[in-house]
């Protein structure tokens, strides 16, 4: 697997993990034929420790644990993995299936066009809407300079 492939895969895995369950389910149902697959690792939920850095450059510290669900499937000649936030086993399973399919050259271009790109657009829109909602309640604080007396 070459470097560009790794970056492409990181991209689609990220989109599949962040999209809503409704979207990924819709994409799966819209598939012209649903491919056969076998579960290598059934969806399982666990905790991962999130590390953070103060200001983005301080010493790393453990910020807290978050729930994560992972799944691995074997599909045709590929192995698909998925790690998603939360505890939705079906989401993890579908994300792993799509990851497996996207690795196959015969499916990649079509799926990127019909599944990943719309999902990505949808995520971007949601972020924008949320940012707008938050911005409307923004409060600016001014500190008045007071005299000493």
């Amino acid at each position: 697997m070459n470097q560009t492939h790794v970056q492409d895969r990181q991209h689609w895995m990220s989109v599949l993990a962040r999209t809503s369950f409704a979207n990924i389910q819709k994409a799966w149902r819209a598939m012209p034929e649903q491919p056969e697959y076998s579960l290598l690792r059934q969806p399982e939920t666990g905790l991962v420790m999130i590390q953070a850095r103060t200001n983005g450059n301080g010493a790393p510290f453990n910020m807290g644990e978050m729930t994560l669900t992972r799944c691995s499937v074997s599909i045709h000649n590929a192995i698909g993995h998925a790690y998603i936030a939360g505890r939705n086993p079906e989401h993890a399973e579908l994300a792993a299936i799509f990851d497996g399919l996207l690795q196959l050259p015969e499916h990649n271009a079509r799926l990127m066009e019909t599944v990943i790109n719309p999902m990505e657009k949808n995520i971007a829109e949601q972020i924008k809407t949320k940012a707008k909602q938050v911005a409307s309640t923004r409060v600016d604080f001014f500190t008045m300079v007071r005299g000493e007396d």
Binding site: M1, S38, L39, L40, R41, Q42, E44, S72, S74, N77, A78, I79, Q103
Partner: protein, 202 residues
């Protein structure tokens, strides 16, 4: 393309609990042949492992246990790393478990860790694949966990093992423990077990 990996337990929680119980029973009653009630824990074991040895591996190995492998088979290594997340080591003395897939050609067992006198529990546990624990050479077990003696038949295990176990017994409280994994059952030989071979009369 990517390398194919075989799947693990069909029902990871229940199967590993069942197998843990089996190993626990076998270890507390040395010489008893223990076997699961349902053997449909998985569809296909990675060669050269039998389903028994593979089940024990899935049950006991994890990211805290370093494993010494007799075979350098890439598929088996990948399989263990994927399902157990265990580090693979080539240093016999550092291994928590040793997976010996061919009981007929044993490595030098004295090189495995026997623990220290402060921490005798930090020894290597050997998982040895044998052909059968119900047919073959008759042996007699005695020691802790056995009321009088326990007779059983083992085949597919190199005869040098019995001599090594005799020395191992004398190292107590240090020493390694052994799990014999055969397609027809699991037998454990902890460091406390004395073995008498019943060599047939001429």
């Amino acid at each position: 393309m990517t390398q194919q990996i075989l799947s693990g337990f069909n029902s990871p929680v229940h199967d590993s609990q069942q197998w843990y119980r089996i190993v626990l029973d076998a270890m507390s009653r040395p010489g008893n042949v223990c076997f699961p009630i349902s053997t449909e824990a998985f569809s296909q074991a990675p060669s050269p492992c039998s389903k028994t040895a593979a089940s024990i591996a899935l049950t006991l190995f994890d990211n805290d246990t370093s494993i010494w492998l007799q075979t350098s088979d890439e598929k088996l290594t990948h399989w263990l790393q994927f399902h157990c997340g265990c580090p693979i080591t080539t240093d016999k003395n550092a291994a928590t478990f040793a997976l010996i897939t061919d009981g007929n050609s044993l490595p030098d067992l004295t090189q495995f860790s026997i623990g220290s006198s402060e921490f005798p529990d930090r020894s290597t546990t050997l998982v040895i694949q044998v052909e059968s624990v119900t047919h073959g050479e008759p042996v007699e077990f005695s020691g802790s966990g056995i009321a009088t003696t326990n007779k059983l038949n083992i085949s597919g295990l190199d005869s040098s093992f019995w001599e090594t176990q005799k020395n191992n017994r004398s190292l107590f409280p240090q020493g390694f423990d052994t799990i014999l994994a055969a397609p027809d059952g699991v037998v454990c030989i902890p460091r406390t077990t004395t073995i008498r071979r019943q060599t047939p009369c001429m």
